[in-house]
């Protein structure tokens, strides 16, 4: 498969077309905006956390296929996971899309998120894939309970 077809594989196009958990959560425990000022990608991530687990996760907003598919897959992947499991998933995902795992990483434990591994071949697009993740990660580990945070990919990558 060519690099471009690897990047835009069916699963990603499908998540882009019909994103999962693409809704708001009223009175969510945590709300965070992820914004890439360079390209204008802009998402709001909603999280409900109960007993150290992600009880619900959703997102809203607009951006490119990579950022939208990534946000969609992320919300599906973290739902039901413990905060520690989310942390380890975040680290693994980040390592894969930034190419730190080498050219042919083992992504079996990432499930469908492995479809985003092709992003590593496109340095200009790594920020797209990681935008929602950085936003989610920063708000999950936020100690103070500020109701709304904005995370820009400028400061996070």
């Amino acid at each position: 498969m060519s690099a471009i077809n690897e990047l835009y594989q069916q699963l990603i196009l499908e998540h882009n077309k019909s994103p999962r958990n693409f809704r708001t959560i009223e009175h969510a425990d945590k709300t965070v905006e992820g914004y890439n000022p360079l390209c204008g990608d802009h998402y709001t991530i909603y999280l409900n956390v109960k007993d150290n687990r992600i009880a619900d996760a959703s997102f809203q907003g607009a951006g490119c296929a990579i950022s939208k598919a990534s946000a969609s897959m992320m919300t599906s992947a973290i739902k039901g996971a413990t905060v520690e499991e989310v942390e380890s998933l975040f680290q693994k995902f980040h390592a894969v899309v930034t190419g730190k795992m080498g050219p042919d990483p083992d992504v079996e434990d990432l499930g469908s998120l492995g479809a985003l591994a092709g992003v590593a071949e496109f340095p200009a697009r790594i920020k797209c894939a990681s935008l929602a993740w950085h936003a989610m990660h920063s708000v999950l580990h936020e100690m103070n309970d500020s109701p709304k945070t904005i995370v820009t990919s400028d400061t996070t990558e």
Partner: protein, 422 residues
Amino acid sequence: MKKNDSAMMMDVDKRVRFDIERIREDFPILHTLVHGKPLVYLDNAATTQKPLHVIDADQRYYHSQNANIHRGVHYLSEVATFEYEKARGKVKNFVNAADNHEIIFVRGATEAINLVAHGYGRKFLAEGDEVIISAMEHHSNIVPWQMVCAEKKAVLRVIPMNDEGELLMDEYEKMLSPKTKFVSVVMVSNSLGTVNPVKDIIKSAHALGVPVLVDGAQAVSHMKIDVRDLDCDFFAFSGHKVFAPTGVGALYGKAEILDRMDPYQGGGDMIESVTFEKTTYNALPYKFEAGTGNIAGVVGLGVAIDYVRRVGFEEVEEYERELLAYGTTLLSAIDGVRLVGTAREKAGVLSFVMEHVHPHDIGTILDQEGIAIRTGHHCTQPVMKRFGIPATARASLAFYNTKEELDALGRGIAKVKEIFHA
């Protein structure tokens, strides 16, 4: 019969002068392979490529001419000063200014506008005064005025535009009042390609004694500039958008206004005498050129100007008009593609959006085909907001582009549609 002969002669002459193959030979970077495919460079509104003449001038300067200017009595300093001031003369002729000392060298259009906002705006604006800009300004012609307006409690007003991306001149006329103290407008929009009727804008402002700055960043590579015909008070442009190096540009200002303004920065070269009690400023243009500037860049700008003048603006305008019309027809014919910016008077820019495909994804797929375009808001977020879109894909032209390259763009877009099943 005789008339026909001379017309034919002229045609032949024109063809010889505007030989696209020869012109492309002058730009070595155009022969680059990108992902194994010939580069199709359609990001000229971001920056233009440089001809060999400019690249060689940079080398030559550092090989055999480098010294600081206006300082030493030694040979190299005289050579460098001579080359630097020779370039000033070339810029003066390029924009048809009346005098060399009306040309101030700066880092680029952004610095030129900041210089005026600072040197004129901060000195002459007062509470309640109004500054008029347009709805299609680059951030560099918005933010400096916002800053000075906030400081002086002045009001920033914006000429609106229609759905084609044309300024509503009636609204502008209504906006002008005794409160208006400055007008700053873009000549060619970088995100829409609209060529604005700056001459009319200037005429109306001058009827009230209001000075006008023209942001010419996108205009200089596409059309002949005549600041005296426009009668603008200031004209700003960047060298790198007209085939010169980055980090250099020029501000034209009418001498009588520049004389009344405060310096932008203090330092060396801009002073007449300094004591710890008082400093008196140097004469124009040095009053505005504090510190050692980009001397090699200025020399390169002079060489780039020589180059475009040799190609000839008459030929450039005619060739680019044809190219733009060809690209407009080509993109309009593709199902699912919509052009953003469809003004009657346009230059060099084909901004577009596609149904169901974000511009960023278009940019990545085209890049794999060797095609360089810009995607995003193009530093014109208010324009994006006006059209209700987050971003556009933008193909922007220079005279070294060809119809074949636009065909490649068309094939690239077909590929985007194929991948996205759009």
